[in-house]
Amino acid sequence: MNQTSAETRSVVVEREFAFPPEKIWRALTQPHLIEEWLMKNDFRPVVGHHFSLRGDWGGVLDCEVFTIEPNRTLAYTWNFAHDNATLNLQSVVTFTLTPTDAGTRLRMEQSGFRPDQRQAFGGANAGWQQFFAKLEQVVARTD
């Protein structure tokens, strides 16, 4: 499920939902619905629109809408600016909806960051960062 290359890495998560693409599209593009499953936001389904995703941990992701193909494809940047350059994250999240017999297959691909920015992944979920840093030490000791 995970793809790795020298320059960029991407994360792919796919799941089939027992609902039509139109309904999933609403959940992906209406701000009050996005907030319920992802984060607080000021999203608008307009290419070029800049918006923020605000996590419960206080972090803010800078986003810009890249692609809007209703009921089919949604893509936006998922950037995390940090004073520490190694924590900067520049990535693109692409959602692809494909109708199936049972409903819709939803595919999420997040890509575009370099291996030397791996730490920045905590930026998307910074509450975990310290926790994982500590655990990496623990695991390194037990290996």
């Binding site: 995970n2 998560v13 799941r15 939803l106 992944f121 998307a124 994982f132």
Partner: protein, 107 residues
């Protein structure tokens, strides 16, 4: 794989549970009593959290006389240590919430 990721993430999303797990990682095997003495919650509450951690494969219990000793199973974290696994877990758990939302939505 997605379930394993999501379960571990959900289990550790609770700060109290995470604190208990961190203590076991840091200080090694402990009894419920020893963990309770340091926690700000009751022994039944600590036991309940340990049950959830055990279900997720994050701790193991060992019975000795009347005491139960718990230890951290850091191997259960291996898929999450790498960032790709970490983000996969993040999105899997977001998809869980999306699924819940879709069930509640009209139409």
């Amino acid at each position: 794989m997605r379930n394993a990721h999501a379960v571990v993430f959900k289990t550790l999303a609770d700060p109290t549970r995470r604190a208990i797990f961190e203590r076991l990682c840091r200080d090694g095997e402990q009894t419920v009593g020893a963990l309770t003495a340091r926690a700000k919650i009751s022994q039944p509450a600590v036991s309940k959290h340990l049950g959830v951690l055990k279900h997720a494969g994050l701790v193991r219990d060992r019975h000795e006389g009347r005491q139960t000793h718990y230890s951290a199973q850091v191997g259960a974290l291996a898929p999450l240590i790498d960032w790709t696994g970490r983000m996969t877990g993040f999105w899997e758990s977001r998809f869980d919430d999306l699924e819940d939302l879709l069930k509640r939505m009209d139409q």
